[in-house]
């Protein structure tokens, strides 16, 4: 879908998110925890309601009208997801519970394909969900886990070491598109191209990028890509795993059950084709319908415009927060995703988050599920503000103001 030609009316778009219009602890809500989950526009909420009020039935196989409608809606969502990330066909789209399940699916299903001594390459900036599944795969197979180092507080990958690492028996390279704790935007297409030269499969964790910027799996050249609906204006409980057709076909099944089989005998079964091979059990049909509405919504705004909007808010916040005495900001100084992450001298992240919450400003404090990275940087917990299309420059003002006061309150 093409981006609209006119500039988005951000105030009108914000009004489409009913939850934002509320008072928290006596102050208008400023929701800046979008890296954890985003809010949902009316169209998504209404799509869920409409589905349950009119069309709800189980998908596939059944003959009756409602089942036909539910199946049609579910498969239309799959086709929509394929268009959203420019997959070659809907057969390359597996519905999952979210990014975590998508990565676990690949890690589990690759078990028979790795041998002792093979290597799995990840980066030091991975979310636990793109680290622990590979640790488990390494334990099951005797494979080694290798890491692309992070430079330091500026949060860049040591790409000078990438080729040497890839040459060390790497069978799969899994990395995040946008770091959830640093805001780094990794050069995903380049990373995939270099991995391919070494014959390694690639998996891109698009949890933080898919709802914020254009994501095109063919341009990226990845073998797998995982995303979460709830981080891109969609419902919780639904996500997408993209797999290159031949890779999905070559992958062993994940969970066994209904829907994923072609025929079942008492002793053995044969598998359905991808993507159904990976969708055992009744899926989150309503979630897929809601995700469809979310993708329509995002493309009606235009993802390039969303990226420019989020990044501008983050850049402004980064620059102004840097003026607060005793602050230590993480992530690249230049191009960055729509979030800022920082430490205040003398004020722990949880105290800062509690302080901001009392002013109605919702932030996140902690290790952001990137414990090894923060340990390496010597920062046990950071405070993070993450932006989305409905956030405003006035909300950046409130963020900067409340952080400056927190710095004085705890440090002073």
């Amino acid at each position: 879908m093409n981006a609209p030609l006119t500039a988005p009316d951000w105030a009108a778009l914000r009004a489409e998110f009913p939850i934002l219009n509320q008072v928290v602890h006596g102050h208008p809500l400023v929701y800046l925890d979008n890296g954890a989950t985003t809010q949902k526009p009316r169209t998504v909420i209404e799509a869920l309601t409409r589905y349950y009020e009119r069309d709800n039935a189980n998908v596939h196989r059944a003959i009756h009208e409602l089942s036909y409608r539910a199946t049609t809606a579910y498969e239309a969502a799959r086709a929509r997801a394929a268009r959203f990330i420019n997959a070659r066909s809907p057969e390359e789209i597996v519905f999952t519970r979210g990014t975590t399940e998508g990565i676990n699916l690949v890690a589990y299903s690759l078990t028979g394909r790795l041998r002792p001594g093979d290597a799995i390459l990840v980066t030091e900036m991975e979310h636990h969900s793109n680290l622990v599944p590979w640790q488990l795969l390494a334990q099951r197979t005797g494979a080694r886990l290798l890491f692309v180092p992070v430079t330091g507080d500026d949060g860049l990958l040591r790409l000078d070491q990438l080729d040497a690492l890839l040459a060390d028996g790497v069978k799969l390279f899994a990395f995040t598109h946008v770091s959830n704790s640093l805001g780094t935007i990794n050069p995903a297409a380049e990373l995939c191209a270099r991995a391919r030269l070494h014959g390694a499969l690639t998996l891109v964790d698009a949890a933080q990028s898919a709802g914020h910027m254009p994501v095109d799996v063919q341009a990226l050249g990845c073998d797998f890509l995982a995303l979460s609906g709830h981080k891109m204006a969609g419902p919780t409980g639904i996500g997408v795993l993209y797999g290159r057709r031949e890779q999905l076909d070559a992958l062993a099944p994940f969970q066994g059950g209904g829907e994923m089989i072609a025929s079942v005998e008492f002793e053995r079964s044969t598998w359905n084709k991808a993507p159904h091979k990976f969708e055992a059990g009744t899926p989150d049909i309503a979630g897929a319908v809601g995700l469809h509405a979310a993708m329509d919504f995002l493309d009606s705004v235009g993802r390039p415009a969303i990226a420019a909007h989020d990044d501008a808010l983050a850049a402004s916040a980064f620059e102004r927060l840097a003026a607060i005495p005793g602050i230590r900001l993480f992530g690249p100084r230049g191009a960055r995703g729509g979030l800022v992450s920082f430490l205040l001298a003398g004020a722990h992240a949880h105290d800062v988050v509690t302080f901001a919450d009392q002013e109605g400003v919702a932030l996140r404090g902690g290790h952001h599920c990137t414990q090894p990275l923060l340990r390496k940087l010597g920062a046990p917990a950071t405070t993070r503000a993450s932006f989305y299309l409905y956030n405003t420059p006035e909300e950046v003002d409130r963020l900067v103001e409340v952080i400056a006061r927190a710095a004085r309150f705890f440090g002073g």
């Binding site: 003398g346 992240a349 949880h350 105290d351 509690t354 404090g365 290790h367 046990p380 309150f409 705890f410």
Partner: protein, 145 residues
């Protein structure tokens, strides 16, 4: 509620200048406490002698609530018998979880406001749980999760 109710001056002051913040070379009991969600981590060092807490120190990193409560803990249990230290911990945990201040104990009562912030109760009790584990000689890391 007002933030100064949660962050009473006693808490802010102990956080800025924690008491007994040291590793005890003479410790015969050590226990760690951590809160994996927050990243709060505390190690409590105890010297138990003749059934009393002869010396106590702690080290760690975490939020103001966790650091201040550990600091207050070291002041309050030093010199107590094991039974008295257990009673003191129970009293503190009661104040924090029920939000009922104890008029006779202003330092402990400074933490009563934590009650209104359920997510933070575990921060306040972390150092005390670690101390109890040290007293009981339990090698396992105290966890508030």
């Amino acid at each position: 509620m007002d933030l100064t109710e949660l962050y009473q001056s006693v808490i802010l002051e102990h956080n800025r200048r924690p008491r007994n913040y040291r590793k005890l070379p003479e410790a015969n009991r050590v226990a760690a406490g951590n809160n994996p969600v927050c990243g709060d981590a505390i190690t409590v060092y105890l010297q138990l002698k003749d059934g009393r807490v002869a010396e106590v120190g702690f080290q760690g990193a975490g939020c103001a609530i966790s650091q201040a409560s550990a600091s207050v803990m070291t002041q309050r249990i030093k010199g107590l018998t094991v039974a008295e230290a257990e009673a003191m911990a129970a009293r503190f945990i009661d104040i924090v979880t029920r939000g009922t201040p104890d008029e006779e104990d202003l330092d402990l009562s400074a933490f009563a406001g934590v009650h209104q912030f359920p997510a933070r109760i575990k921060c306040a009790t972390l150092g005390w749980h670690a101390a109890l584990n040290a007293i009981h000689g339990e090698p396992a890391t105290a966890s508030t999760e």
